[in-house]
Symmetry: C3
């Protein structure tokens, strides 16, 4: 099967963008500005790569109006070239067929319901009272427990687990290995032994959320753990019970959010960052990679913790001094911090 191919004219017209240069140029795939060939589409968004433009062999380049001044080959002009590239390149994305129907090997509880337009792959099990809505795709090896909902158009790529009481909105995408609705880490110490606190809540995931591979979202203790719409979680993230994450917030890989934390809307949480439990982060907060949030953040802005990377010998010297920091500060007359 030959890949789909499109002329610059066709692309400009389909996406409502302006054509610059020869509209007959045809592309059948994408490439980076540095390496794309004559039949590939590339983009220029970051000014730091502008120098690559003159040498680029790309058949079509998506770029801003300014960058096209004097450009003698074919361009498609966009205010936001990266977003335009994202939309155009979707034309070239291979989409595996996921026909409607239930694979013969799937095990579905009689009390569950599966829309006739949904796809249920091999080795899927679906528990009591769960519901899979129109057009949803449940990939191979997925386990859906009791009282779950997979909203219309959602896709569980493969080997996802929804343990219990997980309600997904529409067009939610969940990558392999993710576990939603496991019992939260609720423990009481009683007579020298741990006692489990039953986790009676569920997980609610809003429309258009995406959840990365091997990410975990625990179900709530009493109320639900909540992701509002369009939340984006990368891989290997831990979301504790009763966390609430506001709409359009994105969290990078390996971050951890402890129980009952509330994160606002339009936040960006960096990779391997941590958020301690029972605090609030307001809207539009950026937390840089591997920073730890230990108290509530009430002002939008960018926040960080940690120390810079150094060669190990220098680091050892400076790190040792960190232990003397309060004493050093006192010696030079610094104000005491806690006493």
């Amino acid at each position: 099967m030959a890949p789909a191919a499109y002329t610059a004219d066709e692309l400009a017209q389909r996406f409502g963008l302006r054509l610059h240069g020869d509209g007959a140029v045809r592309v059948d795939g994408v490439g980076t500005l540095a390496r794309a060939g004559a039949s590939q589409l590339a983009f220029l968004a970051n000014p730091k790569y502008r120098g690559q433009l003159a040498q680029s062999q790309a058949g079509i380049v998506v770029m801003r109006e300014d960058d096209a001044n004097g450009y003698e080959r074919t361009a498609i002009i966009a205010r936001d070239p990266y977003a335009a590239f994202a939309r155009i390149s979707a034309l070239f994305e291979p989409r595996p067929a996921r026909d409607a129907g239930v694979h013969a090997s799937a095990v579905i509880d009689p009390s569950a319901s599966v829309d006739a337009s949904a796809h249920i792959g091999p080795f899927v099990s679906i528990g009591a009272r769960s519901r899979v809505e129109a057009g949803a795709v449940i990939g191979a090896g997925t386990v859906i427990g009791e009282d779950c909902v997979v909203g219309a158009g959602s896709e569980l790529i493969a080997r996802v687990t929804l343990v219990a009481r997980v309600r997904l909105g529409q067009r939610v995408v969940i990558h392999p290995g993710a576990v939603l609705g496991a019992a939260g880490f609720g423990l009481a110490m009683e007579a020298g032994r741990w006692l489990n606190v039953p986790q009676l809540g569920g997980v609610v995931v809003g429309d258009d959320c995406e959840i990365g591979a091997n990410t975990c979202i625990d179900r709530g203790a009493i109320e639900d753990t909540v992701l509002e719409e369009d939340v984006r979680l990368d891989n290997l993230i831990q979301i504790g019970h009763n966390v609430v994450i506001g709409a359009h917030t994105a969290i990078a890989g390996c971050a951890a959010v402890a129980g009952s934390a509330r994160i606002g809307r339009y936040c960006l949480i960096g990779g391997a960052a941590g958020v301690v439990g029972h605090l609030e982060i307001c809207d539009k907060v950026v937390v840089t990679a591997m920073s730890l949030v230990t108290s509530s953040i009430r002002e939008p802005g960018e926040y960080s913790s940690g120390t810079p990377l150094m060669d190990n010998r220098s680091w050892r010297k400076n790190a040792a001094r960190f232990k003397q920091l309060d004493a050093l500060a006192r010696r030079i007359g610094g104000r005491g911090t806690s006493d």
Copy 2:
């Protein structure tokens, strides 16, 4: 099916607690103090929420004797309201049916043994010489390799992997995606290439342990990796080969314990904390979130590393100074640290 409902009288009697107020009040679920309705049970443990009591609509509130003075509605009096709530709320926990028997799709090696009272779900495979004891539950998609034991009453929720030589005690709970008994990360460099060091040990998990979703516990190189009884591991934790974790220790999500570390009893390891290999942590040590333990800890107590969160502009200035810390300290006459 109507949910179970209990009167305050019934609950007080069943759990050996004292009733305060009208024993005929009936509840069929739980709620938070702030949001529970008249048919729900709530609890008051943390004094910071005492102010919510007057407005609470909860049918029954579990609380300490002191807090009940003057309280005009129905309460159940407990010395430890949180633990009492945990026990009572278990009455309202939906427990999916896991009937005894082996699902038709399961693949069980002829040399394996499964107790007749155990539940084996769909798409489970059990390898040679492994044993599943009385009342154990092996959830859908679980893979049990060779020479494993699942002790009586243990539950592997779904999609768990026991690779080889994993022996679980009784009443162990393992959440989805957890991997126990994978080969530890043992490498020798030989002539410029890595050589695997065979991992001949196993994993031993004591009674009443609980292991979170997507957590990994590697098998030992020569001897076993060991969790003593009642150890609680949250999600996405890495436990390296030959680690030993003492009884009643709890570790929060995303923590990492490197090979051959020994952690004592009744320790609390915070989220995303790290423990370097080949060291010892004594009993009753608390390590705060995202701290790194790089040498043995011989005294009980609370330990931390890291720096506080700041706005990024301030952080950049201070972090840059961290690189000069040894030089600054010398300038003000601080004692040298390593030379």
Copy 3:
């Protein structure tokens, strides 16, 4: 079945090593120097354990020539005792049978190809146009999507996912729960909502790589994510899209490498370390545990960030001073850092 047993003579001869003492001593397993019995083989590599040698009951000890001076029991002499032990102990490793053939429950797309000598376990699904080469082992519950290749002699232990366009070289080992080829975390913000950037690349894994349990390697956005040969990744690691990792590099558990970072050859990245995206690390760099690499590293050597662990009371005082560090430095006349 009795375990295999070997005399010291046989072992020395098989591995081309020199025998010291009685060649008739026979062993059928391995142990640590401290605990091995008369029928077990141990090793002495780290001089710090030399003191254990005199009391060791091990039947055979692998050691350096020097350490054998005056040793009166049986030894096998090796320049690198740890590597020699690794090779010898492989004789005692139980290798589960993985016969050639496809389990009856497996679901294989008609356009996929599976070599007749490969083993396909229960509940495996293999998607369109994927290929499993000679002698490969695909363990239970593994999901292989479209356009993947599993090279000759590779082993996917169990419950692995190759999502799409993942090409594994020869003798690659992947532990349970690992996810390769999931869509990278590529997002553009458009009109206040996230827009997915299609992830059209794949993942290429070189010969002899090993990938730990629950580790994730995302597929590239335009070009591929690449692991060169003999790369070793521990458990729970996140490798972002378009990362390139040089040959013979090893990364410890819970590390995170963000998109488009390039890591050189023979690097050692410590546990829970982080590497920010779009930077380069040259060959032979060591990054210590939980350090964060935020800019390119151009010189081989060891690098660190973070602060030392302290008792929490001391840490609080010193950490509070970290916030005043720039002000303190100015007071004693330090050079400003950014203005």
